[in-house]
């Protein structure tokens, strides 16, 4: 039998090599699959241990377990997100930031990672960056219940802005929610409170009315609505709502305080509609008396000549003998005098509190 030619022998050997490549490739894929499966099982076991530790508040232990889990299954983003949360809870903000940076590098739209990063940055006092990450969380991707999670992230941002008294930014965050208010009335009530805090009582009132439509016996909603109406100088409506709130929840101290304030205002305000001429005059005299006392107290024992002149005029005004026909004119001049006295009082230190009944009435007269 003739010996095979070198080329044929070469070809035969090469064919065997390719056959070996195919066979080992198949074996590798099997082994790799087996490793991945076993790694996933081990990772899941360690992750469960980590979650149990988190539930017990043992965050350091949890970090160790979840770290081990991630080393078995590096691609699992849930593990790494939970790791970052545990690191944050343990106060290891640097580690949490590193974990989250890594996560966000591979997917910058990760909502939960962005939210956790925002929390880390808040804890580190880096508020500007935190706001940016809150926005990423609000507009980011969530694996489940995206709308609710996005809303929760926005509320967290809103709370931060409210806490930092950033009214313009707060309004910018609140307005998108107002367009599509949440179905949950509790969230709407919270939103109403935030609008109140931000200084948009009309929007707050609308939200509280909506809440009362869904939950007619909600004391907080009545109290909130009362506050919104009070801020819009609708004192009578506010008084009614505070009263309703107290009827539903007698221990609501805030509502009681607000009701007292509304009551006081309603007995003091001379500009209220429906007041008789005599009552309006009486209230103007009372205002001159109160503003005069404030101005006198402010000036002390040695008032300036201009102020002294005003005080003298005020003294005459509080003991009037005015005929019914002149009561209307007298009331107007009393209110002018009260305004002048109040303006003099304003220069005192400390300035009068803005939420006192007298200040509120004077502000209303100035309008």
């Amino acid at each position: 039998m003739a010996a095979p030619s070198p080329a044929r022998s070469f070809l035969a050997t090469l064919s065997l090599v390719f056959l070996a490549i195919a066979a080992i490739f198949a074996a590798d894929m099997f082994l790799a699959g087996l490793e991945r499966k076993e790694s996933r099982i081990e990772a899941a076991r360690l992750f469960r241990q980590g979650q149990t530790a988190i539930a017990r508040g043992e965050n350091v232990e949890a970090i160790e377990r979840i770290n081990d889990a991630t080393s078995f299954e590096r691609g699992n983003r849930d593990y790494r997100r939970t790791l970052a949360q545990a690191q944050l809870a343990a106060g290891k903000t640097g580690d949490a930031e590193a974990t989250l940076t890594d996560l966000l590098q591979t997917d910058s739209t990760d909502g939960l990672a962005s939210l956790t990063m925002a929390r880390v940055l808040v804890k580190e006092g880096r508020f500007r960056e935190a706001v940016s990450y809150y926005h990423r969380a609000v507009y980011g991707q969530w694996s489940q219940d995206a709308a609710a999670n996005q809303l929760r992230a926005r509320f967290e941002l809103i709370d931060l802005l409210a806490h930092r008294d950033s009214k313009e930014e707060l309004l910018a965050e609140l307005l998108p929610i107002e367009d599509q208010p949440p179905r949950d009335w509790k969230m709407r009530a919270r939103l109403g409170q935030l609008f109140l805090q931000e200084g948009s009582p009309a929007r707050a009132a609308a939200l509280f009315r909506g809440v009362l439509h869904d939950a007619p016996a909600n004391a907080d909603a009545y109290a909130g609505l009362g506050e919104a109406e009070f801020a819009q100088s609708q004192y009578r409506s506010a008084q009614r709502d505070f009263q309703t709130a107290l009827r539903l929840e007698p221990d609501n101290q805030t509502a009681r305080k607000n009701l007292d304030l509304a009551n006081e205002l309603l007995t003091l305000d001379p500009t209220l509609r429906g007041l008789g001429q005599e009552e309006r005059f009486r209230r103007s005299v009372k205002l001159v008396e109160l503003t005069g006392a404030e101005a006198g107290q402010c000036a002390g024992g040695n008032p300036a000549p201009d102020l002294q002149a005003l005080l003298d005029t005020a003294e005459e005004a509080v003991n009037p003998r005015v005929s019914a026909a002149r009561q209307s004119d007298a009331a107007e001049s009393n209110l002018d005098l009260a305004e002048q006295l109040w303006a003099a009082r304003k220069e005192c230190k400390p300035p009068p509190p803005a939420d006192s009944p007298l200040a509120l009435v004077m502000a209303r007269i100035a309008q």
Partner: protein, 590 residues
């Protein structure tokens, strides 16, 4: 075909392959790709199999006695197999691969490959404190050797493919294709400009691609992005270099000392010696489980700053001892992985102390662990360039490069000063093998033409008549003489040619008429116009003298090849090597 039939596709393919086979260089390049893929798949199988075996030997929550029993029995079993069936599969694999390349014409037996694969897999899985990379290199090189020889390739091609397979194996084992190329050239070939560069690169890249195909794109270690906190940190990295260098020397000396001790024991105990390593590591592992195995998960932890200082120091010390005992006692496994482990622990220890003392000026221990890996590698394996690139590829973190270079060079320098012989050289010497070393190669390149050059005793002119020229040179000792005319050196004229011309009755002819070379124009090559430069090595001068069969060469300027600086003669070259006496007078031409 003789019978008029069309050749079958098989015949056509065989014909094409035969034509390709005739073009050796192209064939080697094509086969480098095939070998790269095959070796990568085998190494991946080796790693995966070892990992799965280890997972079964040490299930989660396993009891302490396992940690003593498994490595002892594992090393005892594999020790017997190594002694009885696979004697060439002991140890790391790197020196054995070098033996094959430099002594055995690239021959590695399939039996050795088989033994290395399974014995190493079993011993590493049992918890022996050695690495998988060195064995992967030997397995890869062995596969290439077997395939290349069965393909009927020339020795030169076999050796080229063995080198390529080394790179492929390392690229697959470490997931570091560039470092694999560098290591193959720097350590295994000992020459960064080796001819096999193309094959090595192709093979490494193919291996890396196949690795990614099977296991995906994951670096060996995941580390946070570290950055230099303060320029003063360079000082701490320098300290790390010192610590890493000293630690490396301790490890190498301990390993060599223990190996020498084991080698002095009676031959009949060779099969049981590995069990000593297994028992030692088992006892350590009973108390500190982290010391078992290659320990890459511990390295990852320390890189992330997750191990406390005391444990880090303890692990560094225990790993040095465990690896030295395991290797010295003859277990199968490498020292790459353990080097990285020791380095990371030493780095974390230095970094931990520095961070405790100067928290505002230093990064956390993880950054130092990262640099420490390269530092120990540079100190132990003595391939500083490879170690820098390797750490970069492993971590994909560029910011750490500069501290890494500083630390590496210091460790390399200390290691070089305190342990003259690099570890693989020393291991080969213990085996009674003397491999060509980088040092010996550079020594031969060290002697330069300038050390043997002299001024030309006779310079001929192209216009000179042959008769007077012959008279002028007949007492001279050289085979040829420089001819310098307008424009500089025209070339060298052989005395034989002058004599022949005179015999032919052409004594009145001018030298220019019989000179091979034309008047100076263009830029002739060394082949057309044999010459050397002042900074060429004497070995090159000898090589060129041999090629043109002359005992003298002109020494010319690098700037202008036609500018004669002097001549270099054979006798002066030999004298520079100390072979011949320094020639006061040149030897007579025979």
């Amino acid at each position: 075909m003789d019978n008029g039939e069309q050749p079958s596709w098989l015949s056509r393919l065989a014909g094409s392959l035969e034509r390709l086979r005739q073009r050796e260089d192209q064939m080697t390049l094509v086969l480098s790709v095939v070998i790269g893929a095959l070796v990568s798949l085998v190494v991946v199988a080796f790693i995966l199999l070892t990992g799965r075996l280890a997972a079964r030997m040490y299930p989660p929550g396993g009891s302490g006695w396992r940690r003593i029993l498994v490595p002892t029995l594992g090393s005892l079993g594999t020790g017997y197999l190594l002694w009885r069936y696979f004697p060439f599969a002991r140890g790391s694999g790197i020196p054995q691969t070098k033996y094959a390349l430099f002594i055995h014409d690239g021959r590695i037996r399939f039996r050795t490959v088989f033994g290395k694969f399974f014995c190493c897999s079993a011993s590493l899985a049992s918890g022996i404190a050695l690495g998988r990379e060195g064995p992967s290199v030997q397995v890869g090189a062995g596969i290439a050797s077997v395939v290349a020889r069965n393909l009927g390739l020339e020795t030169k091609q076999v050796k080229a493919l063995v080198s390529a397979a080394c790179a492929a194996a390392l690229a697959a084992a470490f997931n570091t294709p560039i470092a694999a190329v560098l290591f193959t050239l720097e350590e295994i070939m000992g020459d960064l400009h080796a001819e096999v560069l193309g094959s090595v690169v192709l093979s490494s890249v193919t291996s890396w691609v196949v690795l990614h195909l099977v296991l995906g794109d994951e670096p060996l270690f995941h580390v946070p992005a570290y950055r230099l906190v303060h320029p003063a940190e360079f000082g701490v990295y320098a300290v790390l270099g010192v610590v890493g260098g000293l630690g490396s020397v301790c490890f190498v000396k301990l390993l060599l000392g223990l190996r020498a001790w084991f080698m002095r024991l009676p031959k009949s105990t060779v099969w049981v010696q590995p069990a000593v390593g297994g028992l030692a590591v088992g006892l350590m592992g009973y108390f500190v489980p982290e010391v078992l195995g290659v320990g890459y998960n511990q390295v990852e932890k320390v890189l992330n700053g997750d191990i406390v200082l005391q444990l880090v120091v303890l692990l560094a010390v225990l790993k040095i001892v465990a690896t030295a005992v395991c290797y010295g006692s003859g277990n199968a496994g490498g020292i790459f992985g353990p080097s990285l482990f020791m380095g990371s622990m030493m780095g974390a220890a230095v970094g931990g102390v520095a961070h405790t003392l100067f928290p505002n000026y230093t990064a956390g221990p993880g950054a130092y662990a990262l640099v420490g890996m390269g530092t120990a590698f540079a100190g132990i394996v003595r391939t500083p360039l490879t170690s820098v690139i390797m750490i970069f590829e492993m971590t994909r973190d560029y910011t750490i490069i500069v501290p890494l270079m500083i630390s590496n060079m210091i460790a390399f320098f200390i290691s070089y000063k305190l342990q003259k012989e690099p570890i693989y050289e020393a291991l080969a010497h213990q085996d009674g093998v003397h491999l060509p070393t980088h040092h010996s190669r550079s020594e031969s390149e060290r002697l330069q033409v300038s050390q043997a050059m002299r001024s030309a005793p006779v310079v001929l002119s192209p216009d000179m008549r042959i008769g007077p020229a012959l008279h002028k040179v007949e007492d001279g000792a050289f085979d040829a003489w420089p001819v310098v005319g307008a424009g500089g050196l025209w070339g060298m004229i052989r005395t034989n040619d002058l004599e022949q011309a005179a015999e032919d009755g052409a004594s009145n002819k001018k030298i220019a008429e019989i000179l091979d070379h034309r008047p100076p124009t263009g830029h002739p090559s060394a082949e057309e116009f044999p010459h050397v430069h002042l900074d060429n090595s004497l070995s090159l001068a000898l090589q060129r003298m041999g090629a043109i069969r002359l005992n003298v060469l002109p020494v010319v300027s690098r700037e202008n090849l036609r500018q004669l600086i002097g001549i270099v003669a054979l006798n002066d070259v030999l004298s520079a090597y100390g072979v011949a006496k320094a020639a006061g007078e040149p030897e007579r031409r025979r």
